[in-house]
């Protein structure tokens, strides 16, 4: 699990255990008797603990602060004190809990209660001195291996989804006692899929056609249509990749040549769906068009050793493509993982013009760094090669099929983009234990098998039953072990929010910094204002407040929770206000509609549902009859502020 989660929900668990303390010992006489014989840990106790306790208290899990991975941990007890008293099962809280003396709080909380015989065996074990043997069946600490794994695809259950993701998850659900909920409505599915793939809500005509389609393959067809809209796809994913590759039209360094854009290269790569191994290779061993990423950001003056451009390249390449954070180890051996200073310098040396001297916490070590790939077992980089030769070798090693982390890192990112949370978290610590290692490894190997076509993986996700589960909303401070029950509720990015507004009104952004291919004009089509999506313009106070990063650092996931300063900008900022004014003008330039019709069509376009009568009445009154520009602006604002508008359920 993630480290670094503070104590809010732990306090809740603690409170629950607090109730138990008071009743344990007092009611000891009502406990089932201890088994009147020697009990065996290996054959009787451990299997029982493993089956009924370890889901929350084993394998590193510590619900209520209690871990049962060893005798010592068990004796340490939980947040509110000991749970076993050696030799005295009648005074051990564990026993009163599993015996169910307090009907409000029975352990384990799920599944059938322990039988009196089972309780008796546990009592005997405690009374007989808590014998504990190390066993092979205990969850070994997870060690991620660079070697790719190709888990066997489970057979599809009779009548169940044949999608490989669902075949893995069906086994997972059974293991975690999850009963998958019924699928979301088709309208919710299409909203999700459209926003996730193209960053836009579905056009009303597309929604109608989808709802009317009775073909069971219509989900796959919708996925193909969305993924096949190469312009919309590329424009949406520019935002994600600009964040990750810290590319923007403006930023530090551009003023004096200390930085270079890769916008054209990146757009072309996404527009043409460049296979991902080539995508990474062309960034690591770049052309003039793509060199901005590994060249980094250079400020005039002296730069700390841990941030010189070759070290920036090592950090950025490792984080983005491998899910490995070398920032600590750029200055000293890391305290939080196994990466060493020499590893960071090994990678940095690939990008360095000459040999690098190891510098530890700003102190030169008088030692020359040895060039090295993070996992030498995959291969080595020849220090005698030229800079371009070394970068080419690194690109080959990094994208090699022997390097399991390359494909894992990207399928994990894609999973997180669609499902709201990665198979491994944090996304940039790929060596952490996934909640379903088989699924992660299978998706990774499947991506390799399909020529690193990211759209292939996206389609697998889009057409899975899992993607159509109702959304869940896991608080970020949740202490519970994560169990997948469906996609997380997501929030639109600044770009998605503005583009969706524009798609409702036809008023897009102004002053684009980049030209995209114009879609072919249909015959006799009226000239329309150009579709300028929000990623194509410079950041402004509104998009910055809504989370568009300044792209000085690699950002692989934006913070999505709303802030007060952002709400101020939305409420009285001039940027949104002007945008809404232009939107109202654009929409009202069309032949007049009745206020009710206008409200209904906007609701259906924005939220993929019919407006209710009471909503319609309130909104139509605001819009005015005849429709006023101001009234319409204010209606648009009130609608755009709705969680239903900004969230992706």
């Amino acid at each position: 699990m993630l480290s670094g989660i503070p104590c809010l929900s732990r306090l809740l668990c603690l409170a629950a255990f607090g109730v138990i303390v008071s009743c344990g010992a007092a009611l000891a006489q009502e406990l089932p008797p201890a088994a009147n014989r020697p009990v065996d840990f290996d054959t009787e106790i451990h299997p029982l603990l493993a089956e009924r306790c370890f889901q929350c208290h084993g394998g590193g899990q510590s619900r209520g602060g209690l871990q049962m991975d060893s005798r010592e941990l068990l004796l340490n007890g939980g947040d509110s004190g000991p749970v076993v008293v050696e030799g005295k099962s009648g005074e051990s809280r564990l026993i009163s809990l599993v015996a169910g003396l307090d009907p409000e709080l029975i352990m384990p909380p799920k599944g059938p209660q322990l039988t009196p015989e089972e309780v008796g065996i546990l009592r005997a074990w405690i009374d007989q001195g808590l014998v504990w043997h190390e066993t092979k069946t205990e969850a070994a600490a997870y060690v991620a291996s660079v070697t790719p794994r190709r888990p066997e695809l489970p057979a599809a259950k009779e009548g169940a989804s044949a999608n490989p993701i669902d075949r893995f998850l069906d086994a997972y659900y059974a293991l975690h006692s999850v009963t998958p909920s019924a699928s979301v409505s088709d309208a919710v599915f299409l909203r999700r899929a459209s926003l996730d793939v193209t960053g836009l809500v579905p056009q009303p005509a597309d929604l109608d056609a989808f709802l009317a389609d009775t073909d069971p393959e219509k989900y796959a067809k919708a996925a193909d249509r969305l993924l096949g809209d190469r312009l919309a796809y590329a424009e949406h994913w520019m935002t994600f990749w600009n964040d990750a590759l810290r590319n923007d039209f403006q930023g530090t360094g551009y003023i004096d040549g200390g930085r270079k854009q890769i916008t054209q290269w990146l757009f072309d790569a996404l527009y043409n769906n460049l296979p991902y191994d080539q995508f990474a290779s062309q960034l690591i061993n770049p052309s003039a068009e793509s060199e901005g990423f590994v060249n980094g950001i250079i400020w005039r003056g002296v730069t700390a050793a841990a941030m010189v451009p070759p070290m920036q390249a090592a950090q950025s390449v490792s984080q983005v493509f491998l899910g490995v954070n070398l920032k600590c180890a750029s200055c000293h051996d890391s305290f939080v993982d196994h990466w060493k200073l020499a590893d960071s310098y090994g990678m940095a040396s690939v990008f360095s013009d000459g040999a690098m001297e190891l510098v530890r916490c700003d102190v030169p070590q008088g030692e020359t760094a040895q060039i090295k790939f993070l996992w030498p077992e995959v291969g080595r980089v020849d220090p005698k090669r030229s800079l371009a030769g070394r970068r080419a070798q690194l690109a080959r090693l990094l994208t090699s099929e022997e390097n399991g982390f390359f494909a894992r890192a990207i399928v994990n990112r894609i999973w997180a983009k669609f499902m709201g949370r990665g198979l491994v978290e944090p996304l940039d610590v790929i060596e952490n234990e996934p909640w379903n290692a088989d699924l992660l490894d299978w998706l990774a190997s499947d991506l390799v098998d399909h020529g690193y076509d990211l759209k292939h993986t996206m389609k697998l996700i889009l057409t899975s039953q899992a993607y159509r589960l109702p959304s869940v909303d896991t608080p970020p401070d949740s202490q519970n072990a994560y169990v997948f029950r469906g996609p997380e509720v997501k929030r639109m990015t600044a770009e998605m929010f503005l583009d969706t507004l524009s798609s409702l009104t036809g008023a897009w952004q102004e002053n684009p910094q980049f030209a995209v291919p114009e879609p072919p004009k249909k015959k006799d089509e009226q000239p329309k204002p150009p579709v300028i999506r929000a990623w194509r313009v410079n950041s402004d106070p509104l998009t910055r407040a809504m989370g568009r990063p300044n792209r000085e650092q690699v950002v692989t996931r934006r913070q999505s929770l709303a802030t007060a300063l952002e709400a101020v900008e939305l409420t009285n900022g001039q940027t949104l206000s002007s945008h809404l004014q232009r939107g109202a003008e654009s929409l009202l330039a069309a032949p007049p509609a009745s206020p009710e019709d206008l409200v209904s069509s906007i609701y259906r376009h924005a939220l993929q549902r019919d407006v209710t009568e009471s909503e319609k009445a309130a909104a139509a009154q605001m819009v005015g009859s005849p429709v006023t520009k101001e009234g319409f602006e204010d209606f648009l604002w009130a609608l755009a502020m709705q969680p239903e508008f900004q969230l992706i359920y």
């Binding site: 530090t252 360094g253 003023i255 003056g301 700390a304 913070q559 929770l561 909104a619």
Partner: protein, 474 residues
């Protein structure tokens, strides 16, 4: 009246989407139990930074040296100050001519003459300003928070109706604008703690009013429709969600800010004309007035900048003498009045005013005498025109910082500088890290207070090692 009883917890309960966001995986959290911070008794509740962006020459302001009048043919190396010095109310402190009003309130403050800017290998104003405002030098692999963001995050607002970090006077549309943007942020702490920008104090009122062209009643109606549609939305059926809750809370706190009585503080037209006129030396002076008004309603951290634009304001690459005379006029009356007004209102004791600049200037030395860097300004050895007369190079070996109120000594001079070129610090030098430690300590924050990001600690002073200059405290 100052609502001083608000604390951080109240803010988080009411306004704080931030509470949730900071708990999230991958978001910052407190790095460790902060016993030191717990023990520190703050001497100030509010901080106002008056930023002299561009490099304020100390020998022309608060550390005057031998004066040599201009005449054609004057040798550059003969000139230390281009103004005569004047007395202040403190016996051992002289100022440069043109700062008499601040001189009259010097008995309320402390003057550090030996601030030493970092050696960054090259003079780049925005990079030194980044360093001064965050304690860290870019480029960085993790975005460092601005001083104001550290304080907003750690202490929260004094009054939940007033943003905790307000930045007055800086625009971001001219040279080095991107470099400035890079540190005017909360960095890894997250947007909630970032600056509330008031680029032009005269238009401050607009930042807490309905959008231009919208009447008050229309604004109210619009909000009612929002609430009404919200109440009817069927999303309720999806159950309770923290994402939705965070949106609703943020909208409520924004609306509260915009309708709060405290919002009147942004309206400079409510100030009596005679007081307004004293402050009105331009944007900076009015920024000081706005800062005072915001202090009165419970602001936590305010920065007022003279504004950094390359070659403008304090960035005097030529004509330094004439321009510095104007700059002193710009700051003298408003800074002195700010001190007096806060004192009159009983707020000076708990408000720390910091007047500072990224480095000082000299006519000849670029960087530090022992560690010079590439010259960026051509300086003739012999002056032939008045425009040659002034401090045109960038000097990092000694600069002045003024501190008023907030628990600092009164009428106190800290550090001596040489009376002959190079006029570097010769006793009690104070570097940026220790200056920050001092400011944080005054606010009740230990120098090793920090937050964990990507599983590593990030401290308010570099590596947590800042040492407060205890001599400065009363």
């Amino acid at each position: 009246m100052r609502p001083s009883t608000w604390n951080r917890r109240d803010f988080l309960k009411t306004a704080g989407a931030a509470a949730l966001s900071t708990l999230a995986a991958g978001y910052p959290r407190e790095a460790r139990a902060e016993e030191d911070t717990e023990r520190i008794i703050p001497t100030a509740d509010t901080m106002i930074v008056l930023w002299m962006g561009g490099g304020m020459a100390s020998t022309e302001t608060f550390d005057p040296k031998r004066y040599t009048a201009y005449e054609p043919g004057l040798a550059a190396d003969a000139v230390l100050s281009t103004f005569p010095s004047i007395d202040t109310v403190v016996d051992n402190i002289k100022f440069s001519e043109g700062l008499s009003k601040i001189g009259q309130v010097m008995d309320r403050g402390t003057l550090i003459r030996t601030y030493q800017a970092a050696d960054l290998g090259f003079i780049l104003h925005s990079r030194h300003q980044y360093h001064w405002h965050t304690g860290y030098e870019p480029p960085l692999s993790v975005a460092a928070p601005h001083l104001g963001a550290w304080i907003a995050k750690t202490l929260g607002p004094n009054n939940p109706d007033v943003p905790a970090f307000i930045d007055i006077g800086q625009r971001f549309d001219q040279g080095e604008a991107e470099e400035l943007k890079a540190f005017h942020t909360a960095g890894f702490l997250g947007n909630e703690f970032g600056p509330f920008f008031v680029p032009n104090p005269e238009e401050a009122q607009a930042s807490v009013q309905p959008p231009a062209g919208m009447t008050e009643s229309r604004f109210v109606n619009r909000n009612q429709l929002y609430k009404s549609l919200l109440a009817q939305s069927p999303t309720g059926e999806f159950g309770s969600e923290y994402q939705k809750e965070s949106m609703l809370r943020s909208m409520d706190s924004a609306h509260r800010l915009l309708t709060s009585p405290a919002a009147k503080a942004f309206d400079l037209s409510l100030e009596p004309k005679e007081i307004y006129d004293i402050y009105n030396t331009g944007r900076f002076g009015l920024g000081c007035l706005l800062a005072r008004r915001l202090c009165e309603v419970g602001a936590r951290f305010i920065e007022v900048t003279s504004e950094y634009i390359p070659f403008k304001y304090w960035d005097t690459h030529e004509d330094g003498h004439t321009r510095t005379a104007d700059l002193k006029t710009m700051i003298d009356a408003p800074v002195a009045q700010l001190v007096l007004d806060l004192e009159e209102r009983g707020l000076l004791d708990r408000t720390l005013i910091v007047l500072a600049s990224e480095f000082s200037r000299d006519m000849l030395t670029e960087g530090k005498p022992e560690n010079t860097v590439k010259n960026q300004v051509e300086v003739p050895a012999v002056m032939t025109e008045l425009k040659h007369y002034g401090m045109h190079r960038h000097f990092t070996a000694a600069g002045s910082v003024l501190l008023f109120g907030g628990g600092m000594k009164r009428g106190y001079l800290h550090g001596l500088t040489a009376d002959e070129r190079p006029c570097k610090a010769i006793s009690n030098p104070v570097n940026t890290t220790d200056l920050h430690a001092t400011l944080f300590r005054a606010m009740g924050i230990a120098p090793n207070h920090g937050y964990e990001i990507e599983r590593r600690p990030f401290y308010v002073t570099k590596d947590g090692l800042g040492k407060p200059v205890m001599d400065l405290f009363a």
